[in-house]
């Protein structure tokens, strides 16, 4: 039985309602709340989307495999390193990892082909488009009427791999980070850190941080906490930014111990040794302590930025019925009213449009019919003309024939007359002869 704890009240807003501290007289039980939350989240499982960006050959796939101790890219499903890319692609792979009853749905977004071509202008565009499209999906899902299943595929963290040149950031690095620091949490990493000696590494890190500040790039900032222990840890991490990492999944024997590392003729570079590289810091930070914070910053800062920018620019026309709405500063009822009005006006417009379309179609049909009528008429006339012509022809033939007949008859009569004449003269002659 514990009496209630004394809480320092900071509430001085909220419409002037002051929260007074009260001491409890008995055990109420709401101290059990974190457990309930815990159990619920464990049942629901967690999601995390991680993006890796960098030139090919910097060990991104190996690092992912080492971080989560699984073979995301296995021989059956070879990673981007074994496939040559002509343009920048954005690929995502999902893997479900379980540990201690907790499910984590991990999505790794890879960007093969980044920075590999001769001309790399705008190679960051596919990445920006991908991140924006994920934000848009979430915005649509959030604005839906039915939002029970809301999958969160927003990119919560972007690991940017810097090549270990030892000098400073390349122009490509600076351009990319400048364009993406407002959209996603960027954590810069120095890849293949076993290339450098400790002094070179220190020098390089200092140079990078100087350039990052020069160009005003906002990388992910670790939150300040009240806890002194945590602050110490956070400060330690801050000192070692950007983290220099080495990845490996091969296990080597060193002094009887089995460690993960890279075997060289001159020694073994151990991945989990804090003196060799900052891999353990990265892993602890990313998975063990700051995963939730990364998700929160994505949700509260980057997503809200995107949302306000998007909604300030949206207009009412040409938008689908069930998706984006107008300003959400009004109360829900007013909003629903507006929605309804919207809907009605849209229906009216659709009706009008359909009527117009119908009229047009009718007109067209009428026109067609008239045309065909005219056509038929013409043909009819044509045929009639033909018929008449034939008729006339036939008439002519008949006339001709009659003429012929008449002439032939005339000829016959003449012939007969002649014959008669001839016979008469013959008789006359005969008579004459007799006398």
């Amino acid at each position: 039985m514990s009496t209630g704890e004394v809480l320092v009240s900071k509430a001085d807003g909220n419409g002037g309602i002051m929260a007074l501290q009260k001491n409890l007289e008995g055990y109420v039980g709401f101290a059990n709340l974190p457990n309930q939350v815990y159990r619920k989240s464990v049942k629901r499982g967690f999601e995390f989307t991680l993006m890796v960006v960098g030139e090919s050959g910097l060990g991104k796939s190996t690092l992912i495999n080492s971080l989560f101790l699984t073979d995301l890219y296995s021989p059956e499903y070879p990673g981007p390193s074994h496939r040559i890319k002509k343009t920048v692609q954005v690929e995502q792979s999902k893997v479900l990892v379980k540990e201690g009853g907790v499910h984590l749905l991990l999505t790794i977004v890879d960007t093969p082909g980044f920075g590999d071509a001769v001309d790399n202008s705008n190679c960051w565009q596919p990445v920006i488009d991908y991140i924006d499209s994920k934000f848009e999906d979430y915005l649509n899902a959030e604005s839906r009427v039915n939002r029970r299943l809301m999958p969160d595929s927003r990119v919560q963290c972007c690991l940017y791999f810097i090549a270990p040149s030892g000098h400073g950031l390349k122009p490509l690095d600076i351009e990319f980070m400048k364009r993406l620091h407002e959209k996603v949490n960027i954590i810069p990493l120095i890849a293949k850190a076993d290339t450098m000696t400790p002094e070179e590494c220190q020098q390089f890190k200092k140079q990078i941080m100087k350039e990052i500040q020069e160009h005003k790039i906002k990388i992910y900032e670790f939150p300040e906490t009240d806890d002194e222990e945590e602050m110490k840890m956070v400060r330690k991490i801050k000192d070692r930014l950007p983290l220099a990492v080495v990845g490996s999944n091969t296990i080597i024997e060193v002094n009887g111990k089995r460690v993960r590392g890279r075997q060289y003729p001159w020694g073994v570079a151990e991945v989990e040794n804090g003196e060799h590289c900052d891999f353990t810091i990265l892993r602890n930070m990313l998975i063990r302590t700051h995963m939730q914070d990364l998700k929160d910053v994505t949700n509260n800062v980057h997503y809200e930025n995107y949302r306000s920018r998007k909604l300030a620019a949206v207009n009412y026309n040409g938008v689908d019925n069930n998706k984006n709405k107008g300003q959400l500063t009004k109360s829900p009822l007013a909003q629903m009213d507006e929605e309804r009005r919207d809907h009605v006006s849209k229906m009216k417009k659709m009706e009008q449009e359909m009527e117009q379309v119908f009229e047009m179609k009718v007109k067209e049909k009428l026109q067609k019919l008239r045309d065909s009528e005219v056509e038929l008429q013409r043909r009819h006339e044509q045929m009639k003309k033909n018929l008449e012509a034939q008729h006339r022809e036939l008439e002519e033939k008949r006339r001709h024939h009659e003429e012929e007949k008449a002439s032939w008859e005339a000829q016959q009569r003449i012939l007969e007359q002649q014959k008669l004449d001839a016979s008469r003269t013959l008789e006359k002659n005969k008579k004459k002869k007799i006398f």
Binding site: V118, D119, G168, P171, L172, W266, V268
Partner: protein
Amino acid sequence: IRLFRNTQTCFSRTSCTDLFGYVGIEAVLDQMRRKTMKVGLEFNIMVVGQSGLGKSTLVNTLFKSKVSRKSCTPNCEEKISKTVKLHSVSHVIEEKGMKMKLTVIDTPGFGDQINNENCWEPIVKHINEQYEKYLREELHINRKRRIPDSRVHCCIYFLPATGHRLRPIDVEFMKRVGKIVSIVPVIAKADTLTIEERQEFKERIRQDLAANGIRVYPQKEYDDDPEERILNDRIRESIPFAVVGTDKEHQVNGNKVLGRKTKWGIIEVENVAHCEFANLRDLLIRSHLQDLKDVTHNIHYETYRVRRLNESNMNFSELGLSARPLENGTADTSESESHL
């Protein structure tokens, strides 16, 4: 001493004859050596690669002195330049009485921009300019006794140790420049790769080079005799060399060695089990230095000369040369001498 049969000329038949006493012909080797030592040697080497691959460090390590651009310019700020600039630094180094005028041509800004189209053009232009200078000198009526040789004898191209394969910019550069100068590709910062990764990487690079028709030094076609071919074959099997450069010394087993000290061990630069720097140095300096110069003079320079002289056909009368048909790309220099 044997006189070897000369099978190429068809004018005279030479046969092997034995001498029945000591004549002293071999003393010509001594004379040549003394002359070379007096006159000295010129060697021009160009290093090309993205910034941060250790070019200047490697050049310093090769010649064991601070001959690179970085060691010579007092203001050593590592800003990436916006365009490719060529930067030559010359030094005269001496060893055991042998003087060498070494010129290192650096190419800062190569491959560093976001858009690297045509970043090889300043380099190609520079190489051709050197050939042009030499050609002009050669065509003068009154020539100098020793024409200053600023032609690039060797170009070391640095490949980043990604472990995958050649990148488009590497292929483009080596295709274009491999035709006009001897290219020696090396894998930079090779302490990133384990031995298996290194072997696989080299294999893939060799495949890519063959697939793109890129000929790197030593070229197969210019092997004179079987001995040389065997030697060069061995070299060709192990290019590109995986090198590590440094100018710091550390103590290993009581000896002072050049190396890089990391938390997990010391990488000895001259230890062949660790990296192939010693092979590169032997190739460039100890065994093939003269060969590099000869290939540049006899093959690359002659190709350039043929092209130029064919182009400027109208200027032939000015130069006093007649248009002679030239076989297999090699011009007969004695002919041009007689005409001038």
